[in-house]
Symmetry: C3
Subunit: 270 residues, 3 copies
């Protein structure tokens, strides 16, 4: 059995996503909420931003997947995150953790550790975040990554094996692993780090793909990343700067042709 | 006396809105705040996003109208909603309720019931939301409507009569009624459901029109809906997808020609 | 020693901003968060939206500057603002206050007074806000200014002297003073008041410039304002309305040529 025969291709998963329009519950930060919802809608799924501790568990039970992002954390939101993570696992559905700048403060660090204990199926971060999460040295400062993706490769594989989850690192070339399989995704645009919350939005889209591929979070993550890489490259050709890029990027996600996602220059399996 | 002689036309109300730039206090969700403020500004009114329980009542007393949307509800926000609804009624000004996905959880359901008791002048929702609010069967799931507008027509009329308010249903063709009068509004774009928070923004714009037409919430609602239908159609002609649509839509609201709103293909009174 | 010899030019500060990419911690309102982060990123700095009382002080100690905006205030956020202001001063770094519509309610008024006591290095507001802050008569209503900038000139100078801070008033022509020096900045676009949260975003960008020019908040403020004036004018030439303006404005900030900022038609020192 080779890797390709057991890992669904991005094209297959995008076709299914558009056909099934999965409901993905996104607990994300205030900066990202609007753009993340638009990213999920444009690609073809149905986002719901529901975070209140009073209802988050009940909602998680009907969602196809949950995504949790600690970008603008507070104790009340953290309580909602806990309950959502527990509820979605009880429902047997996957969830994705985005530990934004978790190394920056003790409050954030403790939250990331606690959420990691609630067993996310997928963890997505930039190189600084993944390095710090794996206990390695990171040059992280603020919310923008200060480390190259390559530096986080080993940390990602180690984290994936020790936690039994998929770990995905975004950067110039993205890196996704479940501890056994590995994929590298190329594309995107140098303008992407100049548009806020695209990483957070990718976490939400990863959740949408996980909802239709709960049995294989690795394939789901690669599919979401391939969509971003392809749409980012398309948008780059049309953009005059980060403002026009943001609009063109949503247009490109909406117009994605599934076949374009599987090209070898886009995804390298290994 | 025929319907046209007692119901102000959208064109008249848009001219007045731009001349009077009413202050509309919008308590809306985190996803919608930015786009809703931009929608209200582009059309010609003055939005204020003020929600804190500590000040919401004092602010409501100076606002021309209040809009309340339960999209990203929490107990603290609910308390602000209660106080704002009470204060705006005491000030003799109208308020608009947008019961986003109120059927999804008990917390949300209870909040919608409680707010409905505080006598909104106008209720705006998608077909699933209006059906569920009227106690009918709905196929609602998450925040996107699963029911056609036609299915909600009777529910809307029944709700309008029993509650003594205007009820407005958005969908491919919009439906507005005060229990006696009925209007159907056509236009818009199939891209609109692919852009998040446009429904929530329409609620805020409906509040802006209600501020200049407090004596006739039906006419105010039809005017707001006609603006959306017209601007959506214009934007559709220029858009390459949901990202460019969102920008073109604000441009189109800003450039709206009042006369274009009254065309029979846009609004059918009956 | 003339004014020019001791005040760094906008061009110099923009070159340094892009080279140093300072980390600016922005506590701003829900409406502004996304656009403010994009404005700061597009111009060349690194924004972090961190507000929780539990971590705001720890984060402020690593930030180059802090900005505080009371747009969507609540008691929990106010506590975070207090702690951030105290921490950033202890760290010897500057902070910027944006007292949005502080005259509208008692809650907001008290918050502005309290924050002013925590000694902001720079205060930015529209004419109505600065007039009211200086104790003068204002026609303020809601969040949009009802007073011309000229009416606030004396109030700004008096406030700058009594508080020992820079005071900046935005409007058709902007006015910046530290009580001794004065600058007027021209440019921008009549579409800017039709796009929500641009003023709030300018506050965040002012913080980014203050981070690289902590010793001279006046020069930092003028530089941020010159960027807005120049980018606003550029975007105006490309925009069809407020929606396309918002995207073109970010593109223009990203493409700013430093030299263009110092032209006499842009900044008048006196």
């Amino acid at each position: 059995m080779n890797t390709l025969s057991r890992t669904a291709l991005p094209s297959e998963l995008l076709v299914r996503l558009r056909a099934e329009t999965p409901l993905v519950q996104c607990i994300t930060n205030y900066v990202a909420m609007n753009v993340a919802a638009n990213v999920v809608l444009a690609t073809g799924a149905s986002p719901a931003m529901v975070h209140a501790a009073e209802e988050v568990g009940e909602f998680a039970a009907i969602a196809g997947a949950v995504t949790i992002n600690i970008g603008t954390l507070s104790p009340y939101w953290l309580e909602g995150m806990r309950r959502a993570a527990v509820a979605v696992r009880e429902a047997g559905r996957p969830w994705v953790l985005d530990p934004v700048a978790h190394f920056a403060t003790a409050f954030r660090r403790d939250a990331a550790v606690e959420l990691l204990e609630l067993k996310p199926d997928i963890v997505r971060g930039n190189a600084s975040e993944i390095l710090a999460l794996a206990g390695a040295e990171s040059r992280g400062r603020g919310v923008d990554s200060q480390d190259p993706v390559d530096a986080a490769r080993e940390a990602a594989e180690s984290l994936a094996r020790s936690r039994g989850c998929v770990v995905a690192v975004t950067g110039e070339e993205d890196f996704v692993t479940d501890g056994e399989r590995v994929a590298r995704i190329s594309g995107g645009s140098p303008l992407m780090p100049k548009v806020t919350a695209l990483g957070c939005s990718l976490t939400c889209l990863t959740g949408a793909f996980a909802a239709i591929s709960p049995e294989d979070g690795f394939a789901a993550t690669v599919a979401a990343f391939a969509c971003f890489a392809e749409a980012g490259e398309t948008a780059h050709r049309q953009a005059a700067g980060p403002g026009s890029f943001a609009a063109a990027f949503l247009d490109a996600l909406h117009a994605l042709s599934p076949e374009s996602l599987d090209a070898e220059r886009r995804v390298r399996w290994a």
